[in-house]
Amino acid sequence: MSESVTTEKRDGVVVRFAGDSGDGMQLTGDRFTEISAVLGNDLATFPDYPAEIRAPAGTLAGVSAFQVHISDHEISTHGDSPNVLVAMNPAGLKANIAVMERGTTLIVNIDAFDERSLTKAGYTLSPLSDGSLSDFDVYEVPMTSITQEVCKDAGVKPRDAERSKNFFALGLVSWLFTRPIESTVKWIDARFGAKPQIAEANTRAFRAGYDFGETAELFQSRYEITAAEFKEGEYVNISGNTALSWGLIAASRQANLPLFLGSYPITPASDILHELSKRKEFGVRTFQAEDEIAGVGAALGAAFGGSLAVTTTSGPGLDLKAEMIGLAVSLELPLIIVDVQRAGPSTGLPTKTEQSDLLQALNGRHGESPVPVIAAMTPSQCFDAAIEAARIAVTYRTPVILLSDAYLANGSEPWLLPDVSKLPTIDANFATTTNAIADDGTPEFYPFKRDETTLVRPWAPPGLEGLEHRIGGLEKADGGGNVSYDGANHERMTQIRRARIEGIADSIPLTKVEDPSGEAKVCVVGWGSTYGALNAGVERVRATGHKAAHIHLTHLYPLPKDLGSMLKGYDSILVPELNLGQLSVILRSEFLVDAQSLSKVRGLPFKAAEIEDALMAMLEGSS
């Protein structure tokens, strides 16, 4: 190592890799994350990519980025602003320079800053020479040419050699943050083993990037981020979509019901279909349907047959499933609808996150059609949320909408592996006998004869003699279940359907308030994927000496039974959401509290600073 390079300790760093959609930025980011996870850092990631698979090369539209926050202490967000931006081309620089604060580090692939690429990115002058980057530490690195040089005799064509430049960037960043080499070299061999020349080129590029840091005398310092303090146990870095898939498999095991997924591919939900279709040894049956309606329809058919039935979707897919969810409400059958939310309306921003389906999940069906709604908070918590959705669906014979979103789906964090022997059990409690006596004295089966406490009806999949019954979307007579057009019966059934779902509140936890002081007069209320940013933002406010509470909801319907009385204890309530204020509307109408909305719909998650600013403004306004 060059004499002049020092190694400094940092408590955390945010790195953003940006390049063309074809440049392998997601792979590079994933790998850097994985290396850091194994070193014991806490981490949070934010893949940020365009809807087009390969938008025109070199344009702003085609920029794909991956941001990772690694830390020596517990963190809850992917970081408001990167400390280091790696830009593989001018477009990658231009698309991301606005999020970089003064004094941060820019590492650019100088080979890509030719006139043609600059023009494509919309630069008239090179930002590297026009003085516009004078507030940054800029490192110009010839990534493409060095990569091509070291891959000359690796047996790949020059075009393929050029494609290895992301591994050069990974090598350089690995050097900069004192990450080890060996594990990545092994990983490259495993990943590209089927194409030895490509594996060789990637390895050479990776090593060249590392060596460049070591020998080029460009960098004055390297940085070390030591392991964070974690609870004892075994960890894996997990994305929301994987955690959700595994949660469904676990729920199937815990309920002793075979898992069936009916689904139609849609971004950003498709990875759940991909993951589950690989796991057939768990008895998982996946069905790629002809459309969204058939996906949920087949799932409902499987539920009638006694499976743990799931459908997955996003955005416009939820619209298409609405009628079938209404039928499931009427039939009172267990069904899990996973909605990985994305920015809408219509096709909207298919790869960008939003929380704008809440009101649709709660109300988006005709008729009085109550459906329990729950939301996952973090990538790894998607596992627990899936089990909870299954518990409610199976126990209460109801469709359940589980809300995730693009940020949770693709983002990842370390997950402490649970003890599989301690997962909650779910009791399908199938009907096994007749439950009524006909006028002529013969035993009968009444499909809508309910448990007196929970109002839950018996679930009797076909196969048992004497339990033959017909159910349908027409209103059913209370108890016997035959078609009934009687108005009084319809009113009774409507009330029962509502009461049954509201009764689920008896089985969910009371409101959990995070308020170390116990004396806060201001409360931040959020739900779903904003947990990390809200937690970090509120923490910052507390660090300035203020008192502030944070309530984060996972059950959106029914709500925790004590939520109203808890909220009434605060002078001010701030409700940050990635929509135009949907939860705040619910809190206002349910509890007559002055819930103030903080809204953001930019296809991006909240920054902790945005929460901090809004909360400080509220505190100052109320003092």
Partner: protein, 340 residues
Amino acid sequence: MSTTAVPITTRKDWSSDQEVRWCPGCGDYSILSALQMLMPELGVRREKTVFVSGIGCASRFPYYMNTYGMHSIHGRAPAIATGLSVTRPDLDVWVVCGDGDALSIGGNHLIHALRRNVRLNILMFNNQIYGLTKGQYSPTSEEGKVTKSTPFGSIDHPFNPISLAIGAEATFVARTHDMDRAHMQEVFRRAQEHNGAAFVEVYQNCNVFNDGAFAGITAKDVRSSMIISLQHGEPIRFGVENERGVIQKSDGRLEIVNVADVGVEALLVHDEHREDPGLAFALSRLSNGVHEPTPTGVFRAVERSEYGNDLNAQVHDAEAAKGPGDLAALFRSATTWTVD
């Protein structure tokens, strides 16, 4: 699961206690009777039998069968039944739908269930009209038809359901009509025995909104000269004295001829099992409507792997190869690290 012999049943055992509420004189009654009378002969159990329907007059069918059943959503019965059939291969799943249900709002689900070859017995009651919404034209109504929604005559070209099913490469395609119980029962029996998706078009008279739509071929006095009853392995011929027949011309087209003009040897011999659906398709095009001699019976019955069987085989193979799923191992399928 019972391993005892299938109990002997009668029509009464298969009839639910619900009052049947179709219009008096509706063709649905004779289809219901035909099926309720047939079920005891099929060697199946009531508790292993499920009827799934969509929305429409025909779709009230499950309420009248004393089996498991679901009256679902307009057009979606094939999708729901697919999920049930593939996860419960032990069940005998019937789908009952109408022409609007199966070919208009649910056309997509029908063709996909057929091409996948899901084990389903699909009975499509075709009355060429919307009944439950009181008389609008349907996707099988003839061009020019005057209805409540087409006061100047329909300008829609109709589907030929048999052509559509064969085009979707259905493995079993048949047609029958509500005036001939024995024929219905024979076709339903064949459909139930078929291992895969069986599609049966049943010409069904709607005596309120489209009365006599099929009388031109199904009325007793014209039937023998207007219905071409397909019999596997037999020359295709019809008529009061079997005087007419079907030949295939050198360019592939089918044509109706007088047997006396060509000789019996020249007649096309019906082959349900031909892999190539081309000839079955040509047979489905023989008639341009129910004013011309029209084939009934089984157009096509071929073997192809059944979807649910294949799906379950993949699951069983994975279980056999990897052993039953182990959650703790699944969690460790990605790189893990331990904190002490």
